[in-house]
């Protein structure tokens, strides 16, 4: 036998052993069988339907579930967390203002657990940040998504991925929503809907008025070039995707194609390895609802304490444009608040929103749209919807004192109380 033959044989044996080891080290799990999995049409009755499992949606669902409401969350993607996970903006903020925590509750619980489990680090909130983003909390996006799922399941929330509503109509005191995913057509009868789609897509489907600027803020495609992704410890590289529009599957597709094409150009130009790429563009702006209350930039920058305020918000006025962004910090001591009325589309019943589509003018929205504020809104909406469902009433009819009491019980910080 020649030397080369011997070497080949040795390599063959080594590779076979390594391959065998790889197979033997693979863990195995079995998914539970879904009842009626072979049927494409199903009907489901719930108290609260949360549409959109993003930053606000998953918090709203967990809160509704914990408050005792039978809850279903519909998400068009494959995981919870939205901008924080799918968008890769895995540095939610701002939970603190002026040295004090102003947003806590379920959002903070999730972020805190994620950081602790991941061996991450919190910013020193006692320190005056030179720039607002220094107090954003880095989270491991992958872990965050799984923890969000776990918390949903623990709260009894049913998760439905890859589905989106196709039609909504009134049914009795609530709604009948037809949601479609591949191989699934789900008819959901619910008492309350919380629209957490970011662009108030359900509100739009119902024909209720929405606001939208002619030119919206750019989205961001996040990636890592040349260096390995270190989730929860390091920020990803970013590029603006101008014209990014989250209104429908076609505009989202276009934004993603545009973003990815630019990343590919960078790879070729910089001759570096592409080490990480988010599956979707992070979107900053699309539609906003016209709510019972409209938060104006003056309300926002003056920290107006609304009579029906249900959560805090904190971030500079932060409008991204083609020429970049120049954040306008809030005056010391200012903590904007979000009224319940801004989460309820004007003239609607049994319908709420949470997240960046909150009823607000454009400049106020540029500060309100950030993750911690959206989490606060999500918890308030989830709680209010669950109370409304339990009382067979509409969110605005739920006594404010009761909302405040229950929110505090679930760990939220009430406006004016931080």
């Amino acid at each position: 036998m020649s030397n080369s033959e011997q070497t080949d044989r040795r390599q063959f044996i080594q590779k076979s052993i390594l391959g065998g080891m790889a197979i033997s080290s693979t863990s195995e799990v079995f998914a539970q069988s879904e009842e009626g999995a072979k049927e494409s049409d199903l009907t489901q009755e719930v108290d609260v339907l949360v549409v959109g499992g993003g930053t606000a949606g998953n918090i709203a669902a967990i809160q509704a579930g914990r408050a005792g409401a039978k809850t279903l969350i519909i998400e068009r993607g494959a995981q919870l967390g939205g901008t924080t996970t799918t968008g890769g903006v895995a540095f939610p903020g701002l939970f603190d203002a002026w040295g004090k925590q102003i947003i806590a509750g379920i959002g903070w619980e999730l972020v805190k657990e994620c950081v602790e489990l991941d061996g991450g680090k919190f910013p020193n909130f006692a320190k005056v940040p030179k720039r607002h983003w220094q107090n954003q909390v880095f989270v491991n996006q992958f872990l965050y998504a799984i923890l969000a799922e776990e918390k949903c399941e623990q709260a009894g929330v049913k998760i439905a991925y890859h589905e989106f509503p196709q039609a909504v109509q009134k049914a009795g005191i609530g709604w009948e929503v037809v949601c479609v995913g591949f191989g699934t057509r789900r008819r959901v009868r619910c008492k309350q809907i919380i629209d957490c789609t970011g662009g108030a897509e359900v509100v739009g489907m119902m024909g209720l008025p929405r606001l939208r600027e002619e030119e919206t803020q750019p989205g961001s495609m996040l990636f890592n070039l040349g260096e390995a992704n270190n989730p929860g410890h390091h920020q990803l590289h970013r590029l603006y995707v101008h014209g990014a529009d989250s209104s429908n599957s076609r505009t989202v597709t276009l934004a993603n194609l545009t973003g990815r094409r630019s990343v590919l150009e960078k790879v070729r130009k910089e001759k570096k390895r592409l080490m990480h790429l988010q599956p979707e563009t992070g979107f900053r702006e699309s539609f906003r609802i016209v709510g019972e209350t409209m938060i104006t930039v003056n309300d926002y920058t003056n920290g107006r304490l609304f009579r029906d305020a249900v959560s805090n918000a904190f971030y500079p006025v932060d409008l991204h444009t083609k020429s970049g962004v120049k954040p306008k910090p809030l005056k010391p001591g200012t903590v904007p608040t979000i009224p319940l009325g801004a989460l309820v589309p004007k003239g609607s019943q049994n319908l709420m929103v949470a997240g960046r589509c909150v009823s607000s003018d454009r400049l106020a929205n540029s500060g309100l749209r950030v993750q911690a504020s959206c989490m606060g809104m999500g918890q308030a909406a989830g709680l209010t919807a669950s109370l409304a469902a339990a009382q067979s009433t509409t969110p605005l009819e739920v006594p404010l004192g009761e909302i405040h009491r229950e929110l505090a019980k679930h760990g939220a910080i009430l406006p004016g109380k931080s």
């Binding site: 002026w98 040295g99 004090k100 006692a126 320190k127 005056v128 030179k130 010391p332």
Partner: protein, 311 residues
């Protein structure tokens, strides 16, 4: 010792005193121009100036006959014209004169003024005819007029770098650690910029990289104006409260944006400085004021900034 005739002796001593006081005036004048403001130098210069004027008056009397002769000469008109011309140029300060004044480390008497009042202090700063800044620090109930707190007022650019101290102690001060840290950083950066011939930190087209306060306060091109900050640090020595044997200094701040001009602005309490080590190097950061503070919060009642533009 004989001094000769009394008249001659008087003339000699007057001339000598005039010359010597002039030397003191010249030296202190140069020091006042090139060194940071010093009350000792300014006091010496101005008081010696009065003495000099008195000796000159006697000197003029002593030499009145010769002076009358000079006044009858043909060059008197020229001398008068030169004096009036220089007086007018130095008074109205056209751009080239401002450039020369800008070389001075101490434009205090020319550009700014500090007044102590019964209920506080007012700082005036007027770097041009059509720009006036006034900072009124109204003292609070815990400020002792007999033993006023230490204070520093300075400007920072958007990168949080010190660009000009408007008022502060000579050198650095342990009682005002944040200002001292910032000022030291500025001095080091200036020194570095001076040592590196290629560096364009002083005249960089990016205003945020400039060491020249004029680039922020009165930029040549207003459209490129970038916001800057005015800060004050205040500290009462030995003001024990709660767990503090001596409460730390407090820092107040306001942002000034020439693109969004506002006449009146109140400075906000930002925090208190705390020493940190960044990679083994000394650094000072601000921390939010917590419940541990007491009397220090009442050293200042309010700090009002008034900026008038286009006067």
């Amino acid at each position: 010792m004989k001094y000769g005739e009394p008249g001659k002796a008087r003339r000699r001593i007057t001339s000598l005193l005039s010359m010597l006081t002039f030397v003191v005036m010249a030296v202190t004048g140069a020091l006042a121009f090139f060194l940071p403001f010093s009350i000792e130098i300014a006091g010496l210069h101005s008081l010696m100036g009065f003495v000099f004027v008195a000796f000159i008056a006697v000197h003029v009397l002593n030499n009145s006959r010769q002076l009358k002769g000079y006044l009858r000469s043909r060059v008197v008109g020229l001398a008068l014209a030169v004096t009036v011309g220089l007086g007018a140029v130095f008074f109205f300060q056209p751009a080239p004169v401002k450039v020369v004044l800008g070389l001075s480390q101490n434009l205090g008497p020319a550009l700014d003024r500090f007044e102590v009042q019964e209920d506080g202090m007012v700082y005036h700063y007027a770097p041009s005819d059509d720009y006036r800044m006034e900072l009124t620090v109204k003292t609070g109930p815990n400020s002792d007029p007999e033993d006023p707190p230490e204070i520093a007022i300075w400007l920072e650019n958007q990168g949080d770098y010190h660009i000009k101290t408007l008022l502060g102690p000579d050198g650095i001060s342990d009682d005002l650690p944040y200002w001292s840290f910032k000022r030291r950083g500025w001095e080091k950066a200036k020194e570095k910029a001076g040592n590196e011939e290629e560096i364009d930190a002083v005249s960089t087209p990016t205003p945020n990289g400039s060491f020249d306060p004029a680039d922020y306060i009165l930029p040549a091109d207003p459209d490129t104006s970038t916001p800057y900050k005015l800060l004050i640090e205040i500290n009462e020595n030995g003001d024990a409260h709660g767990e503090y044997d001596d409460q730390p200094s407090l820092v107040y701040s306001v942002e000034i944006d020439n693109l969004r001009p506002v006449t009146f602005q109140i400075l906000d309490l930002v925090g208190y400085p705390k020493r940190e080590d960044e990679d083994g190097r000394e650094a000072w950061s601000l921390y939010f004021v917590d419940e541990g503070f007491g009397s220090a919060l009442k050293l200042v009642d309010s700090v009002l900034l008034r900026v008038e533009r286009g006067l």
